[in-house]
Amino acid sequence: MAAGRNDIRTYRGFGTVTYLCLFILYAPLIVVAVYSFNASRSITIWEGVSLAWYRDVFTGPESAKFKQAAINSFSIAAIAATLSTMIALSAATALVRGGRFGLRTLSFGLISLPLMVPEIVTAVATLIFFSAIGFTRGYLTILAAHIAFCIPFAYMPISARMQGIEESYEQAAMDLYATRGQAFRRVLLPMMMPGIVSGFLLAFIISLDDFIITNFVKGAGVETLPTAIFGAVKQGIRPNIMAISTMLLAVSILMVTISYFVSKSDDAR
């Protein structure tokens, strides 16, 4: 398409600002990814391509620590994403399909509010809560906290999807002798699937990536990947951190890509 007079590309400085933003956003990531393949022990001097640091992650002196952290991170992310998605689906069904009940707006606000609350506040509050009820900090406190703060993230795509589905589909199913439950399972749920998958993946990534809350509620000796990385960095940055970070980045990109194609395949129906 020819650039017209009002084409944004003709604005003075537009290109410069664009490239500057892209540079600031992605240059550090690219540097980390590239230097994770560096043969050198130094994090700044390039000495040739090597998988040594990836090998170090899996077999080196810190491998046992990282392995346990990865198991914790992925199992917490999987369980938290599953449970928060189920809770978010129930909440969305009640709020979107429950008709106009009095506290609907308030309920919606209460579900989305955690997104606006500074994470450090949530972290401190969660820590105080667990101390108050005498819950020993460890794997379970991390899991419980993750389930709770993942709910609004899972809720958003699920609720948006459900709002986009007209009620006449369920009415048609009930008109054709399906009970409310059958209409939900056989008609609404398949149509909801892209929203559910997006909600799950978003919750999974948010959980996998969380540092602040996890750091507050984790017990001594229980680490997730972000807290383990942070702990290792405090001793000085070694290139194996770059290798772990690059792998985490790859997992995130993979998840986002899956999410994109799931929603896209649905547009084509």
């Binding site: 009415q171 048609a172 008109d175 008609v187 129906r269």
Partner: protein, 363 residues
């Protein structure tokens, strides 16, 4: 109360309120078995609400709904043996055409093989056998419409409800579907309750019509009766084109009302109960029941001047201004042009009403 059972649907003083808004105001309707019955009215008149009450998507605030003599107004939708064709079709997008049609049959407890056989029959009825394996999104609007019809007919409902099913189709397809719906109704013998705002569609398809406005039934009857003998202003104005005149009844003689229509002009028509001498009411005359002539044909020929002629396909519509009086639209069929003359604008002409053409309206 024995004849209750002879009505497919019997609605008794149904009231539906949404908060302070009254969508239906004591509506009573008796719809016969095997009937093609139409609820006709402008948007917001309550026709769709009434349909949703019968289907069970809304609860009545007051009143009763009987289906072949049995009260159904408290049953949930899945326990009512009626099926709906939705305005947006609401075909299940993740199922094939065949699975869509099988859905209701299976939910009624039929075996899968039986449901498949039944779906095959229904798809044959609407001539879509070849599309059984497709997804709804891969079909045209007209084909989706027919799938929705097949899906609603497959579980053999006692009554089929159709909520403006043709409104999304283009004119040509709509005409074809009108004929098809009518013939499917005759073939299956199922009572159809059809909701539309299109008066022409209602007149073409229906055995009987209920004209609705502002939550009430304004008039109920056969298509011809409603068109030719409208009860009130609303019905006369809503159904077809008409000349609506403000008239004053001078006197009643031998069952005829002699009316002043303004400018010293007088028209006579059948008297109506409740309208006596001195009443100021409205009169309706259909433009196709008026004839133009160059000299007075009778005592009630009205002299005027042709203002304009508009070509509208099958007819030519002429506007005639009476001296000091009302203006009339007169339609002359183009097939009559050999016998009837079209007067040029500015020409003097007489307007003549056919016997029985003029109707007094109650309000």
């Amino acid at each position: 109360m024995q004849d209750n059972a002879t009505y497919a649907v019997d609605i008794r003083s149904a009231v539906k309120r949404f908060g302070s808004f009254t969508a239906l105001d004591r509506v009573s309707l008796s719809i016969r078995d095997n009937e093609f019955f139409t609820l006709l009215g402008p948007s917001g008149c309550g026709k769709t609400t009434l349909l949703r009450l019968i289907a069970g998507f809304e609860d009545v605030t007051e009143g009763e709904i009987l289906l072949f003599g049995e009260e159904i107004e408290t049953l949930p939708p899945h326990q009512r043996p009626v099926n709906t064709v939705f305005q947006n079709y609401a075909l299940f997008p993740k199922m094939t055409v065949e699975e869509n049609v099988m859905f209701g049959v299976e939910m009624r407890g039929a075996r899968r093989s039986e449901a498949r056989r039944r779906a095959g029959e229904m798809l044959e009825l609407v001539r879509l056998e070849r599309f059984a394996g497709r997804r709804p999104a891969q079909l045209s609007g007209g084909q989706q419409q027919r799938v929705a019809l097949a899906r609603a007919l497959a579980p053999q409902p006692k009554v089929l409800l159709l909520d403006e099913p043709l409104s999304a189709l283009d004119l040509k397809l709509r005409k074809a579907m009108q004929m098809e719906l009518k013939s499917i109704q005759r073939e299956t013998g199922i009572t159809f309750i059809f909701v539309t705002h299109d008066q022409e569609e209602a007149l073409t398809m229906s055995d009987r019509i209920a004209v609705m406005s502002e939550g009430r039934v304004q008039q109920m009857g056969e298509a011809r009766e409603i068109y030719e003998r409208p009860h009130n202003m609303f019905v006369a104005d809503f159904i077809g084109d008409t000349n609506l005149l403000d008239v004053t009844v001078d006197r009643i003689e031998d069952g005829r009302a002699i009316c002043h229509i303004g400018g010293g002009h007088v028209l006579t028509c059948d008297a109506v109960d409740g309208i006596g001498a001195g009443a100021q009411v409205h009169m309706s005359i259909r433009p196709e029941r008026l004839v133009l002539s160059d000299e007075a044909l009778g005592a009630e020929s009205l002299a005027g001047t042709v203002v304009d002629n508009v070509f509208i396909g099958t007819d030519i519509q002429s506007m005639i201004q009476l001296e000091n009086g009302p203006r009339f639209a007169v339609r002359t069929s183009n097939s009559d042009r050999g016998a009837r003359r079209i007067f040029a604008p500015g020409a003097q002409a007489f307007v003549n009403a056919e016997p029985g053409a003029a109707r007094l309206l109650i309000d």
